[in-house]
Each structure stands twice: as C-alpha cells, then as structure tokens.
Symmetry: C2
Subunit: 181 residues, 2 copies
C-alpha cells in the first residue's frame, strides 16, 4: 500500500446525486448474467450485473430487478428462475436482454426449455437453476434471494465483464490460489 | 451469438455440491471492496466481493457478510459503515482484510476517521458512506441493505478485480456509452 502522503486523494462527489451514484458504480467491475423465467405466460429475461454469491450452506444467491421493468410482474409470480452466465462473446445477448420493446427470445436468440419448463439461453458459459425464496423491497428495485438447485458449467468458461459503462471480454485464467471470502 | 449447433455445451456439475457452487462463482468476475465500521468497540473491516448497486432512487446498495466472521457482531450493531473501493494496486489490502487473527488496522494499513467517526481506508479508488437499513437472514450470511449518504471518488480510478480465485488489476477506460441496467 502507498503511504498516506502519496495516496491518491478521493474527493467528495456528492451527498448524494443520482449522477454521483452512477459514477461510483461506473468504475466498479461486475460480471454479466441474463436471468430468465416463465411464470406460465411465456418466457421473460433481463440482463443483470447485480448477481452475488451470498451463502454457501445453503447455496443462496441474490440479484436485483427493477420494479418498473417488464420482467418484474413475471419474476414476482415465478417460483424458479435460471441465471445464465454470459460468455466473453455474448455482448450482443447482454444488449438484447437490456433492450425494451422487442421480443428478446425471437431469433437470433437461441434458447431451450429445461425439464422443469424454465427457459435457458444456449451458448452461455454456465447456468444456475434457482428456487426463488424471498423478495426484499429495496427502493425502485426488489432484491431476489434464491436457492441454487442445479449447476451446469461450460469447460474453461471465458466470462463477459461490465465495467465503465461497457462490456469487455475477460480471458480465462487457469490457476487458482485464493478463495473468495 | 453462435448458432445452437456450434454453441459450447454446458454440463451438469451438481445439484448442488459446495464445490460446484464455488466453481460456478470462480468464473464470475467481481469488484473488490473493504467494508469498514465501528460500533463503538474499535474499527472492524472485511474484504467483500458481493457489493451490488441495488436502487437508484433512493440510492441503495447491498453486500453480504458471514455470520461466522469476527466483523459480524460489530456490523450488526453499527448504524453506519464505509464501502472502500479497492484500486488496482491494493491487492495487499484485500488480502489483509480477508486474513483472520491479525489487527487489520495496524501498520502498514493506512486509515483515518471520517467526521462521523467511521474508519476509512487511505489510498482507495473511492468510498461510499452508508446508513445500514436492513439485515436480511440468508443462510450462513446476512445480506446488508444500506442507503448511500456520501460519495467520494478518486480521479480516473483503476479498480481491482476478483476472478478465478485471484485478484487482477483492471485498467481505467475512459469512454462510456451504455448504462448499467
């Protein structure tokens, strides 16, 4: 670590503007997933950068969804969902599932149904099938807590990264020395 | 997107082992923060890769904390906390605040108190001062929902990334064309 005298100075940006909040997270890198579900009224899905691994025992994850989004009424009524991990070459899919007013599941989107009926995207770097356990009210979003019931992974996945307002491919690394805390 | 016939195949890993769950998130990239707080019994802090921007209006964030961790009893009693965004050169700090049985705030850690008394790390790429609003039970963790009250950012921050069990520096990008959904 740099000694304090040489440390870069942080400056107060706001307490708190919308733009300041956006700016803070613009510089925070995140992975990219598409959450898909079907509450019986057809498949829905949306791009999310808020996925977190939450608990190992039991295996729980969380992600946010805007209550103003078209997917929300469907996800609210669904009991299960699929978290599709996007690969480095899937920026078009990330953009498609963040675009309003289109049929996100129409061609060129390639997808299939899992045995339980959930829609799952093809060509991803992996997916989690999850059971929705809790919806927590959080301002203009709901935080979804879900239990992982099944895990499918590609070999040597190369993830897509969201950072500084853009999508970036990340190469796969093959050495693993530390555990996520 | 690749046509389905050429798409990489995902394989069922587990339904659900601890190792399968770890493996799924090993390939999911995340930013790195140190959450610091002081409930009146001295400063505590821990490295987290679970920070999410949750709601814009009001500005809410979430992160997880293991209830078995030494920081948990302090964070549980705190009303405010600081989210310190780690910069590309701060891997030693990430490791230090993930190590048990040491005084994480002793030298070489450089830190200071904010006007409200909260401990804040020096040399970071930015920080959020937050008010803790809700603690959600989630297996072996609690999910902390907090409201952002103040934002301080460095110029052109270069974030630290956690991916595949390792920390990696990420260069700063300067063009911004898309909004996080």
């Amino acid at each position: 670590m740099l000694p304090a005298a040489e440390a870069p100075q942080v400056e107060l940006v706001s307490r708190v503007s919308r733009e300041g909040f956006r700016q803070a997270f613009r510089h925070y890198p995140a992975g990219v997933v598409v959450v898909t579900a079907d509450a019986g009224r057809g498949p829905v899905g949306f791009t999310a950068t808020s996925l977190s691994s939450l608990s190992l025992d039991p295996p729980l994850i969380s992600f946010g969804i805007a209550t103003g989004s078209s997917s929300w009424p469907h996800l609210r009524d669904a009991t299960t969902a699929v978290v599709n991990f996007l690969g480095a070459d899937q920026e078009p899919l990330a953009r498609r599932f963040a675009t309003s007013g289109i049929d996100r599941f129409a061609a060129p989107t390639s997808w299939h149904r899992l045995p339980g009926g959930e829609p799952a995207l093809d060509g991803t770097s992996g997916r989690l099938t999850v059971r929705i356990e809790q919806l927590v009210t959080a301002g203009d979003h709901r935080l979804v807590l879900a239990r992982v019931e099944e895990i499918s992974l590609a070999h040597a996945p190369q993830p897509l990264l969201y950072h500084d307002g853009r999508y970036h491919p990340l190469p796969s690394a093959h050495t693993t020395t530390a555990e996520r805390s």
